[in-house]
């Protein structure tokens, strides 16, 4: 459990706590409804709202100010699909010619028979991909209503048959990958695992069981560290 007591009536303190000294160089964390200053001459970016003549935060996250744009980088995010994203999806249902895929977004995606992994006869969708199967696919299009279509036509897109799957908050992927992919490359070398990182925060790890467990442990560390120190995007 990555929880810890954080607020009590009589022992509130801005001093250092058991987690060590607070890092003042980081941009401040804001919470929903927090006043971020006057709106005059300011552009509202992600996670903020202009209410009257004030800018207010709508999410819990770190406040960023770039030029005259104020935004909030959330500490927790839900994946929102964009065309071209590589994602790992789970088959949640199917009809005669469509699969419904959970890609971790607020809305399920569809995988039409024509974009499936192989030639499928009408009514034979479950023979190719059954409910509960996991697939590596790509977001083909996202409609205005957030409905998205994924495809398995493309290099490397396949049904996942081996290894293990893990998850990480999408905004923490940068910490897993590192600058220019350095951190991920080092992890692959050290653990001798095949690691596929997808845009929806799901990871496919393939290799020996011990190595898979090692990778999962490292990913868990990234996630728990982010909880403790509030790593932003």
């Amino acid at each position: 459990m990555n929880s810890r007591p954080v607020g009590q009536l009589d022992n509130m303190s801005n001093e250092s706590n058991a987690d060590g000294p607070r890092n003042s160089r980081r941009s401040p964390v804001v919470v929903p409804g927090e006043d971020l200053g006057p709106s005059e001459g300011v552009e509202a970016g992600h996670g903020v709202l202009v209410v009257g003549d004030r800018v207010k935060s709508t999410k819990q996250g770190r406040m960023n100010r770039k030029g005259n744009t104020i935004s909030v980088s959330p500490l927790h995010t839900k994946y929102m699909p964009r065309p071209g994203d590589l994602v790992i999806g789970h088959i949640e249902g199917c009809t005669n010619n469509i699969w419904f895929v959970d890609i971790g977004a607020p809305f399920n995606s569809i995988l039409p028979m024509s974009l499936g992994p192989s030639k499928v006869e009408f009514g034979g969708t479950r023979k190719v991909l059954d409910i509960g199967d996991s697939i590596l696919c790509r977001v083909q299009e996202v409609e205005e209503t957030h409905q998205s279509v994924v495809t398995m036509k493309g290099m490397g897109l396949r049904k996942i048959r081996s290894g293990a799957l893990d998850e990480l908050d999408p905004h923490l992927l940068g910490h897993l990958i590192g600058k220019g992919g350095s951190f991920l490359r080092a992890m692959k070398m050290e653990t001798d695992c095949r690691i596929v990182v997808t845009d929806n925060g799901r990871l496919w790890i393939d290799g020996d069981l011990e190595n898979i467990l090692e990778v999962r442990k490292r990913i868990e560390n990234i996630s728990s560290d982010a909880r403790i120190v509030g790593v932003g995007a």
Partner: protein, 238 residues
């Protein structure tokens, strides 16, 4: 109404049975991230009340008939554990839990930016582990923290506090005896940054002056509780 046998719930010094002054709030502890599998969660201990709230979503809304084409829907499930009170509670939903789920949903809908997630659902599960008095306030306040923890966009966080009347004295944050044997109860949901009211219920009778006093107590207490909520959410992140 109005008595607790011969026991005076307010003594000659104006103190209550638990030693608090009329405007005092019970001790509060807030933790976030207590349910690892949830998108956001909160554990709130308020006096001897304890609630755990888990938020999941936004997610695909099922069954499809509950989907709204222009906004998300919030599905609140308030439940008291069978062991949460001295008398065992029959498990499952009842009339009271349905009512509290509904008022909590209505209060949260006024702050969550639902239009950003059309056709989806945000599931809020409120589980009361220990109940003394004012569990609807604890549940609603903890739900606000859990929603913020889940990264759900909101215009503000709802803080809910109740005041009431005991032995003709208006008091803030009623405990069990005051709630059971007092003369009135006024739970409110307040948006601390704007002072707006999103939830109000009243049980019993209050004169206009008493109502004003209870209102003021609730607003003052909401500001104190909001401070703790902000601290809990900022946690060690600064």
């Amino acid at each position: 109404m109005g008595g607790y046998g011969d026991v005076q719930m307010i003594d000659e010094n104006g103190l209550r049975m638990d030693g608090r002054k009329p405007g005092d709030v019970r001790p509060i502890t807030i933790e976030t991230g207590v349910v690892p599998v949830a998108d956001g969660s909160c554990r709130m201990v308020w006096g001897t009340n304890e609630a755990i709230v888990a938020v999941y979503g936004p997610m695909e809304a099922h069954p499809r008939k509950i989907q709204r084409q222009d906004r998300a829907v919030i599905d609140v499930a308030y439940n008291m554990a069978p062991f949460s009170t001295t008398d065992r509670i029959r498990p499952g939903f009842n009339r009271r839990s349905r009512e509290i789920s509904k008022v909590t949903k209505d209060a949260l809908e006024s702050v969550v930016l639902l239009e950003l997630y059309p056709r989806s659902k945000i599931r809020v599960s409120i589980e009361i582990i220990s109940a003394e008095a004012g569990t609807r306030c604890v549940g609603l306040t903890a739900a606000s923290v859990a929603l913020a923890d889940a990264g759900i966009p909101m215009t503000d966080m709802v803080v809910s506090v109740a005041s009431g009347k005991v032995n003709d004295v208006v008091v803030c944050d009623l405990n069990k005896e005051e709630d059971n044997y007092g003369e009135a109860d006024l739970p409110m949901g307040i948006l601390p940054n704007t002072g707006e009211l999103v939830f109000l219920q009243m049980d019993g009778d209050l004169s206009p002056d008493e109502f004003k006093q209870a209102w003021d107590y609730n607003v003052d207490a909401a500001m104190q509780v909001h401070k703790l909520m902000v601290e809990a959410l900022k946690g060690g992140a600064n």
